[in-house]
Each structure stands twice: as structure tokens, then as C-alpha cells.
Point group: C2
Chain length 347, copies 2
């Protein structure tokens, strides 16, 4: 282990105290997007240490060098300064809890409590579930103001295909590649759909694909659109009134006729709580009848749900994990902003 | 300017040649997400130099230090080693062309050709349109294998609200915060919509909001859903046949009746090319009649289009720029995978 701090410190001119606003400076730096890493090592006492750092970056290919910065006030400073080796874990998108845990200023013992790890080179603890792990031998420790800059030579690495965690402006994030990699099938006009298409058109196209699939499935079950919608609405929440079903269907521009209710009841899929007097003058007087799924109706809804899940899983596999997460995140944000209460599962 | 290379190099033990596979190592490093920067300076001859670097990171708050790494083989090495100051530009999401331009191994003169810049501290060229700019005085230059590590003290910075460009696994990307920041309005059940809701439900909710808006607008124009769809389909491409319109409408689970066509024609919004003999036995024999918008129809479609654009712009403003870009990117990818040809504009 080479500690370059001494010569470096001897050499540098003392820097004046900064006059920059620390909060604004941090915000400006935060606009630089990073991954998130946990760097681990063994202290001189053999205890594992680990810190969350997003100051990691690659330096050199040959020799293979990487670096990161550690606060001089860190409890783990002494351990890292004396460690011959350390391991960098580039965290996966689902490891933000681990990131939070190792970002706290608690002892190594607390951080590693109940966490399984193996011993890597120099006995540096190796965590699992990460996107990439780099096992390094300390090459340099440089002065970096209130931090030290640790440069390590990468001796071993492994990676898995889990998409990485991203950090930007103080928030965890997921990255969506804007490089077009999926080409449309031969013969299709690629101008037909592009990132510059209107959001409305894209939403319609995506949704209509889904609803076409469910329409297909509905027709296999001998249900029309309205019947399918009614069963799904009752599957999500029972005891809805006829009036509620009309309201739900109106979102899709459809009208639920009394005959659809009667047909489903005749097929033994739903039953109508007829306590409230029926009249020949709907809808005012039948508004408050409650509608329930029968046992047979419940079985059918279970089949519908499981088929929908299959369609969905298949689509997500083709789209990719980070893309699916990002798409769900964005759509749920969009829906929360714009239409917070569409109170039924379409599927 | 302090060059710490000498003491650092004297001190370090020679590293052996790496045995890691360079391609795999680069791929492993690439899983660490970064922003993209262009760092600029003035050479000793006064010529501007600039390089694209994603090896940037923050180091210290007090003193305010940042670092980045520059390849020893870079044409600009001498200029940066002798420069008293350099400027880091954290690129905005729409600056990937600029990133590509400064990543080439051409001369500074070529890179800066036709590019407007101001002089910053130490005459370092300042580019515009970036997310953040940091003007630095060289504090240290450290050894970093086949690169040098440049540490700078930040003297000035400015930032704008443009979301930054992201780089991950060799691709440009945009980041979506997964931290839930948008809360549903008071009284709404936040469990109703979440990032864990099914994609189908989310797509349906988002789409239905859009289509509700257009349904509202359609009804103001005294058009029903089918008439609205027909006009939009003809607005996107004229001279469609009745058969084509039936196919388009079928995607939405609707049927286009001959009476809708006749109604629109009677209102003077469309005209039917009746060269092909009409019969009382549709649709086989009227399949190939072409349908056109009249002048009045075109005016109406223009109104519809501009209203749709307004709705869309309003929604995007509320969702945010990077979110809209990411959502469009993901939806267009989704649509390309799953339903490459829904051949009409819904709006």
C-alpha cells in the first residue's frame, strides 16, 4: 500500500477557505448523475468496514485503475488507509436500502449485522446481489481536501445483468437508454412510431395493444367488452351498484345496459341484490342495487386475472427490467397528476 | 498550478501488466452510470482545447474540489497539464451531439469551429446550454496509470434547470427518479395507483385520461367517438377506404357503421369517392370507395389537432421534461415491440 498523502500535501499550496454557498454547490454537483457503490475492506482489527460512495469512477485501463473519495471524518478512514485491498460494489437498482444502510455513520459491525458476505482479496467483504463487483489493491491515496482519493488497481471483477441503481440530484433513479436499439419488424414504417410521436398517440397505441389482448381473451370466454369490464370491476371490488358500473364504463366511452347485467346474472356469473325495488324506469330506481360475483363468477375472474398477468409478464420480459420499472414509475406519476381516480382494474 | 506527478510517480511501486480482458473490464466499468462532461481550457498557444469526459466526480466540499481523468495519449494533455484553469460542463440531455463532437480525437480548432463560447477564468472557453458549469483552478495532477487525474478547485459555478445527459453501458440515457414525489390529491386513495400497479392498469388509466379529454372536445364539436375517429384517421392520411376505417376502429373495439360516414358527408365534412358502385350489401362492395376530407373537414381537423397539442403540452409541463422524454422513449419502444402498426393518429 502506497500512501501518497505526504508528498502530495507537502507540495500543495494551501487553498483558501471557500466562499461558495455549500448548499448551492452541493446542488450543482448533484446534477452530475452517478451510480451508487458500496466500498468494503477489513480494518486492522479484522472487523469489516463499508461505506456508500457515489464518488467512484474509472481511471485507467492499463493498468486497470479505479478511484473513489472518502471523507477524512469517516469512522472508516483509518481502516481504508491501512487496508491492502478493498472491494467496490456497483449497486443494483433494487439495492437502495443497502445503500442507505451503508451511508449511515454507524460502525462497521452494525452495518454488516445480518448481512451475508464472503471474503474477497485481502479479506475485503464481498456483498451479493450487486450489478458489478471490483476487487482492488490500494495503489495510491491522494489528498482531496476534506476527502482522500483512493486509487485501486482492479485485480478481479464479476458482474451480473441486474440493471444498476442511479443517483441524480439527491434522488435514486433508473436510467432509460435514449439510443434506439429496438428496430421495427421488416416492412413496417419506422416513422409510424417514434420517440417524437405525440404522447397521446403512443399511449393509445400501447394501451390498444393491451386491450386487444384482453378483448381476444374475453371473446374466448364468450364475454363481450362490457361484460368483461363488469366482471373485472367486480373482481377488483365487490358490491358495486349499477350506477357505479355505468360511471366506470363511461371512462371508456361505453354504456352498461341493464341487459348486460341480466345476461351475466342469467349465466350464473353475478347475482343482483334485489332488496331495492326494481322499476321499469331505470336508472334512478335501480341505482342502489348491489351486484356480486357468484362462485362461478369468481372462478372466471381468477382465470382472467391470471391470463392478464401472463400477458403482462411476457410484455415486461420483452421490454426489459429497467425499462419496465421506469415505464411503471412514469405512468403512475402521470396518472397521479392527471387522473387520480379511475377506480377499477381494467384487467 | 501544482503538478504532483513527480512525487507520486517516484513513490509508487510499478504495477504489473494487467491480465484482465480489456473488453470485459470496460463493460464492467460501464455499468457504473455517469453524467457526461466536456472539460475545456486554453493551451499555452492560446488555442481552446476541450474533451468529453465521464470520469468527472466531486471530491471535497471545503475546499470545493472536483476531479476528472484525462488519457495520457490525448492530444490535449499538454494543454491541460499547463493550464492554470479549466471549466467542467455537465451536459444537458439534449447535448449528445456536442458530447460526440468533443469525444473525437480531432484538434481543438476543429472541435470549437462554429461554436460560440465566452472566456471564463483563465480564459477557459465556456460553452452554453449545459446543465451545470464549474470553473476550476488546477489544484493537483496525480498519476492514474494510462490517465492523469486532474483535481481542480471550483471557484465559480452556474447551473440551469435543464435535465442532464446520462451515460450507462455505452449508451446515452435519461434518468427517472424512482423517489415518489408527486402525491395524489387530498382524499384520494394513494393505493389506487402505484409503481407496483400492473402495466395494463397504468396504461389504461393514462390512456383513458387522454381519451376522456378528446371525448370532451369531440362532444363540443358535436362529434361522437366514431365520427371523431374517422376525421382523425383521415387527417393523418386521406383517401382511406371504408374497409380501412373499419379495421382502424376495430383496434378500439368500435364498429364504423355506414351511417357515420353518411352523416359526416351530409354535414359537409367528408366526401365519398363514389366511382365504385354502391350496393345495399356492405361491406364487400363499398370496400374500395375512397373517403376524403372536405375543406370544412380539414378546418375542423386542424382545430382538433391544435386542441390535442395544447392538452399534450399542458400534460408534459406538469410531468416534467426528462420524465416526458423518458415516457415517450419507453412507450415508443413498447409499441415497436408489441404493436408496430397501429396506422392512425388517435388524436
Amino acid at each position: 500500500m502506497i500512501n501518497d498523502l505526504q508528498p502530495s500535501q507537502q507540495n500543495r499550496q494551501p487553498l483558501p477557505e471557500t466562499t461558495l454557498d455549500p448548499r448551492e454547490f452541493r446542488q450543482a454537483l448533484g446534477t452530475f448523475t452517478t451510480g451508487v457503490t458500496i466500498v468494503t475492506a477489513r480494518g486492522p482489527d479484522g472487523a469489516p468496514v463499508g461505506v456508500t460512495a457515489n464518488s467512484f469512477n474509472s481511471v485507467s485501463l492499463n493498468p486497470p485503475l479505479v478511484l473513489w473519495s472518502l471523507a477524512r471524518k469517516s469512522q472508516s478512514l483509518a481502516a481504508f488507509e491501512s487496508a491492502s485491498h478493498w472491494a467496490v460494489h456497483i449497486l443494483a437498482h433494487d439495492q437502495n436500502d443497502l445503500s442507505g444502510r451503508f451511508a449511515r455513520s454507524t460502525s462497521g459491525a452494525e452495518k454488516f449485522e445480518d448481512i451475508k458476505y464472503e471474503d474477497g482479496l485481502g479479506e475485503a467483504p464481498l456483498l451479493s446481489g450487486c450489478t458489478t463487483r471490483l476487487q482492488c489493491r490500494t495503489a495510491h491515496i491522494y489528498d482531496g481536501g476534506d476527502h482522500v482519493i483512493l486509487v485501486g488497481e482492479v485485480l478481479r471483477f464479476d458482474k451480473c445483468d441486474t440493471p444498476p441503481l442511479v443517483f441524480q440530484s439527491g434522488n435514486y433513479a433508473i436510467a432509460t437508454s435514449t439510443t434506439q436499439t429496438v428496430m421495427p419488424p421488416d416492412g413496417e414504417d419506422p416513422r409510424n412510431v417514434s420517440e417524437t410521436s405525440s404522447l397521446g398517440y403512443l399511449l393509445a397505441s400501447a394501451y390498444l395493444h393491451f386491450s386487444a389482448k384482453s378483448r381476444e381473451h374475453a371473446s374466448e370466454l364468450e364475454l363481450n367488452d362490457i361484460e368483461y369490464l363488469i366482471l373485472n370491476a367486480l373482481g377488483a371490488r365487490e358490491a358495486r351498484t349499477y350506477h357505479e358500473l355505468i360511471t366506470l364504463a363511461a371512462y371508456t366511452g361505453r354504456f352498461v345496459g341493464r341487459e348486460s347485467i341480466n345476461d351475466l346474472a342469467a349465466r350464473g356469473l353475478i347475482r343482483i341484490d334485489d332488496e331495492i325495488e326494481e322499476t321499469t324506469n331505470p336508472p334512478e330506481h335501480i341505482d342502489h342495487s348491489h351486484i356480486y360475483l357468484t362462485q362461478e363468477g369468481k372462478v372466471l375472474v381468477t382465470r382472467i386475472t391470471s391470463q392478464s398477468q401472463q400477458v403482462e409478464e411476457n410484455m415486461m420480459r420483452q421490454l426489459g427490467v429497467p425499462e419496465t420499472i421506469a415505464l411503471r414509475t412514469l405512468l403512475s406519476r402521470f396518472v397521479r397528476i392527471h387522473s387520480p381516480l379511475i377506480p377499477y382494474r381494467w384487467f
